[in-house]
């Protein structure tokens, strides 16, 4: 394998990882407040379709769309739509105390349905399959850092060849880590997720924390959807359910990181690296493996490679459960609604 292919592999891993990093950092925050939001894929869908629709109508309505304006509109739309998703979830589970699992799963179905419905409409409006494109906005979202992205050769490609959202994801993960571990707000938030009755008795507004964190988490997840549409598939609509699969991977990543946003950075890239193995693995190695396993065709191996991220998750889960350190477990009251006067 040449250096160039290896760098291309890592770049692909980082692009892929960015999507699930948004998803899992958002979900880590949400789960730290004790809300198990299984609506991550749905919320990412909402963010994705809103960002696409915003950009589409802006570009169609303007003869000469300004790239950064398009990107800005797209960003705002993604944030607002995913915020709405977070609000729906919070209202149902915190205020009405609905079952969190059911609410989350329903939100996933809802988000996917809404997104694919309007995605289909947008495709129709733009004249048919493969026609929809918001090239101007997408190019602004994907714009690389001038100078730095070329000046240092392979290092530039490795570090500086991504759109701004890829860096934003890392920054958000680091901020989330700082907030959770160094600030009073973070301490209070962790308490809410561990034991809301205790947090309540300590004078913390449990409802407010749950609402705000879930909504902020949802907005971060929505950014993942936007990144998927604008960068990963370059401003088109993918009705194939690829985003939903990534959404679930983001949920798996939350467990993989043992609820630590810092770990989500390298964890997401590792998942991306594993995900792309099937494209970048040297064909000689693949052929040898195929022979060893008795596979008739080398391409059959690809299906096996695609399982790797999930296998890694399972292995990590086993290791974590063996270690049993209390700090690495999920927030103790995850998935349980809190009602103060229950007795």
């Amino acid at each position: 394998m040449t250096l160039t292919t290896f760098i291309a592999w890592i770049c692909a891993a980082i692009t892929f990882g960015t999507i699930i990093m948004f998803g899992s950092v958002g979900e880590i925050l949400t789960e730290k407040s004790g809300n198990l939001n299984l609506g991550v894929p749905g919320i990412m869908y909402l963010g994705a379709i809103a960002s696409l629709a915003g950009a589409f109508f802006y570009e169609n309505g303007n003869p000469a769309p300004v790239p950064w304006v398009g990107a800005f509109i797209s960003l705002v739309c993604a944030l607002v739509a995913s915020l709405l998703g977070g609000l729906i979830y919070s209202f149902l589970t915190v205020t009405l105390r609905a079952n969190q699992n059911v609410t989350g799963l329903t939100l996933t179905i809802f988000g996917g349905g809404v997104a694919n419905f309007f995605g289909g409409s947008l495709v129709k409006l733009s004249g048919g399959v493969g026609q929809i494109s918001v090239g101007t906005t997408s190019s602004a979202v994907r714009a690389q850092i001038p100078f730095l992205s070329t000046a240092l050769g392979p290092i530039s490609t490795l570090l500086f060849s991504y759109g701004f959202l890829a860096y934003l994801a890392v920054v958000i993960a680091l901020i989330a880590h700082w907030v959770l571990n160094k600030t009073r707000v973070g301490l209070n938030l962790r308490a809410v997720g561990e034991n809301p009755a205790t947090a309540d008795a300590a004078g913390i507004n449990v409802t407010k924390y749950k609402y705000v964190t879930t909504c902020i988490g949802a907005m971060i997840e929505g950014l993942g959807g936007m990144y998927y549409v604008m960068d990963y598939v370059k401003g088109t609509w993918d009705a194939g359910g690829g985003l939903e699969a990534l959404g679930w991977l983001a949920v798996a990543l939350v467990i993989f990181t043992s609820w630590k946003p810092k770990n989500a950075i390298w964890g997401a890239y590792l998942f991306g690296f594993c995900y792309w193995i099937y494209l970048y693995i040297p064909s000689s190695l693949s052929a040898a493996l195929a022979k060893m396993l008795g596979a008739a065709n080398v391409t059959h191996m690809q299906n096996l490679y695609r399982m790797i991220p999930y296998i890694v998750t399972i292995i990590v889960l086993i290791i974590v459960s063996k270690r049993k350190r209390r700090e690495n477990q999920n927030p103790a009251s995850l998935g349980i609604s809190y009602f103060r006067e229950e007795r």
Binding site: K182, T183, A191, E194, A201, G203, R326, A332
Partner: protein, 511 residues
Amino acid sequence: MNESIAVRMDGITKRFGSVIANDRVSMDIRYSEILSILGENGSGKTTLMNMLAGIYYPDEGFLYVNGKEVTITSPHDAFELGIGMIHQHFKLIDVFTAAENIILGMKGEKRTYNIDEVNQKVKEICDRYGFDIDPKMKVYEMSVAQKQTLEIVKILYRGANILILDEPTAVLTPQETEKLFNILRQMRKDGKAIVLITHKLNEVLELSDRVTILRKGQYITTIPTPVANEQILTEAMVGEKVTLDIERPDPVNPQKRLSVKHLTVVNQERIKALDDVSFDVYSGEILGVAGISGCGQKELLEAIAGLQNIESGGSVEYYDKDGNTKELVGVSPREIRNYGVHLSFVPEDRLGMGLVGSMGMTENMMLKDYDKGRSPFLNRSESSKLADEIKSELDVVTPSIDTPVRKLSGGNVQKVLVGREIAAEPAILMTAYAVRGLDINKSYTIYNLLNEQKKKGVAVIYVGEDLDVLMALSDRILVLCAGHVNGVLDARTASKEEIGLRMTNLVKEEA
């Protein structure tokens, strides 16, 4: 005037749905004084104090703190007024350190906090009152007594002058209780107002200056402790005359029923929960099991009932009435039950083991005999007859035998649980914490039930928390200390101090 009034409550009423928890209660709390609030379970002691702590909000009435009328709508308001409450179930986050728990929810000048500064301040408070707490220790590594100390430090750190303790001694050994009382006396000297919610009469008499008594949500009276005694307090609390002595008939014709030898149980954390435990159980006697919580009591009973994996080398032999022996290790729990070995375990949440909360009494009865009869369909009539019997004989308060047991009060749930096991006419009856959280009257009902069984020749194993009761009820007391049998004492001659000492220190081996 150092006995100035800290809190005045005037006509406080609180309802939960149609249930009135507090009915127009008026009382006051003074500085430099320890006030006991005494009442049976469900008399509204904790609810009343929760309204001071901001957990609940009163439906009617007025609150005055330091002479000013106040509304307390959240725990935060309570802190601002210098009121701190230590709840019966500790309000601590297990994965946080002591210091993190202490500053939880506090507002600071900065968004971030410096944990070293907090650690320093915590140390200062500990030194002043003589607490022994490491601020960097995680709560899940602490003993119950340490957790309680942490709760007190937490409240002092926030500058509370009015401290409310909800049944603080329920989980402590006699030695730890004495230590806590000394701390409370020290704080009284400091001018703080201290409220002790309890239903233990001896504590009231030993510690407090005044006693306020609640019954069924209503304020009954306040008595200065010097003029009170157990009889007066009990009658005010229960509203009728009661006899306080637990009867203890002598065992008649005791025969060996159970012989436990070299029993070792390893728990999930790979720690020996029971280590080489050996003892015998006789018919017609009550064997009390004493020990601080989590010392292997649960594992011991479960091992006998066949619910625990036993390390090789251990044996539990059952002797039936004709002197035949049966090895119980390796036998399924159902078969052990069929031999007549019955377990009624009352866990902390009362329902967890033994009863299904969303089922009614009838269905809970059926859990144990669903396999009787040959029809593939369930036979409800037998079970509902039994449920009716238990309801009337044990005076279970429930709208109907089909009301989900989760909706019954704690005492009634326990009666159902114990009643079901007794109805099966056991040869060996094991109960753990059968009176957990019950008030005096209902506790006596349970003691009488156990005594009746004893008289019938049943071997009763009674795991209890209250040493006074254990000593009054049992014939022999087995003391468990960290999974070891630390002596089997004659309950008629043993002293409370000796039992307490054996609960905390291994007498036979290290010491």
